[in-house]
Amino acid sequence: MNDENNYFYENQIDVIEDNVNVTKTSDIKEFFILITGIIVLICGILFVSDFVMQIFLDKMSYDTQVKIESFLSFDTAAKPQYTKEEQIWLNDLNNIHKKILSNDEELKKFKGLNINISSDKEINAFILPNGKIYFTKGMLKNLKTEDQAAFVLAHEIAHYKNRDHLKSIGRSILTLSTISILGLGSGDFAKQIMYSIYDIGDLQYSQQQEITADKYANETIKKIYGSNKGAVEFFNIIDRNQKLPEFIHYFSTHPSPQTRIKLLEE
């Protein structure tokens, strides 16, 4: 009798255990499905905003570009006083600049381009939205030959010519506003993930821009100096100074110097 009772109880309990109130999927499966959904969604948004920006910006006239740029940028204080050494560098760079401009008809309309030197010790060169190109002191000290400098300069000019700055700004505005309008990621953690996914997408985009600019610069110095030796030398300099492990470059706005050399050699 007792055994029978036990059997009965066990069966009853089995019914309890076979719980209809909890869906029989694991949390982790749910997690991956949702994450995939979010990634697909963000990629879609990025793709659409890329597409829109591409159409919009490629058709935009130079005058409009200047207007937008003057709205985006502010002029820094009075012209800095350059030392004699810097003055020499500046002259050299301006000469190279002229060579590059004479090489490409399309560049003639960009009147805002000019070269400046910043006292930064890091090896870097950048261009502001208003066309001001900055070379850091650290960069100038490391550049050995003219064609190396020409490569860097042409690279920055290529960014300007391709309207990379406007494209990435427009893309960020479109994507981020879409994400916030959708109210995606109402939780803090979710938001963090969303923006991280967006960031990774952005990094890929930025790396693509760098590669395009590299290509342009490569073509330019090939035309002017006959070879792309300067470019390869330049990336070797960067590589020596960075000493970063290779994987870091997946999370960087720029591809690794070695990858860039490989691409140039192709």
Binding site: I13, V22, D27, F31, L34, D188, Q192, D199
Partner: protein, 151 residues
């Protein structure tokens, strides 16, 4: 990037701890349900028709408050967007309800039947603003009238 890495690490940790805790809780709930399967019987009805002499009548209650972990909250915040069953919270609700009922029954081990049982749930942080940092917490209270027969 650092943020993302941190989130992933926290997610892995909280998923592991959360699922261990949940598994253990379900196991314990099951054991206790087996132990209590005979007595006391729980009924939602108000009326009790019996010929037995009643020895004692009292109010018994059981409460349980269960919190979700970081991982569950994270998953659910995406679920909020797409809609659908909040699978990660279903187990929370289930645990809270069963725990509350079990506690009520355990507090009336001597009784034969608990009548007029009601189960209610409440949000612990029921603040009006739906701010982001709300932790999902479930609290369930189960109460009823425990009746002991004369032997």
């Amino acid at each position: 990037m650092g943020d993302l890495l941190l989130v992933i690490i926290i997610l892995i940790i909280t998923y592991t701890t959360g699922s261990i805790i949940e598994k253990n809780h379900f196991k314990k709930i099951r054991q206790r349900e087996i132990a209590l399967v005979k007595k006391p019987v729980v009924t939602f009805g108000k009326k009790l028709t019996t010929n037995k002499k009643i020895k004692n009548v009292e109010l018994v209650a059981g409460e349980a408050a269960i919190s979700g972990d970081y991982f569950k909250t994270f998953v659910s915040s995406f679920r909020n967007f797409f809609g659908g069953r909040m699978v990660s919270f279903e187990s929370l609700m289930d645990r809270a309800r069963r725990e509350a009922v079990l506690r009520m029954r355990e507090s009336a081990k001597h009784a034969d039947i608990i009548v007029n049982v009601r189960i209610e749930s409440a949000m612990l942080n029921s603040s009006e603003d739906t701010s982001n940092n709300q932790l999902p917490q479930v609290s369930v209270i189960a109460y009823g009238t425990a009746i002991t027969y004369e032997r």
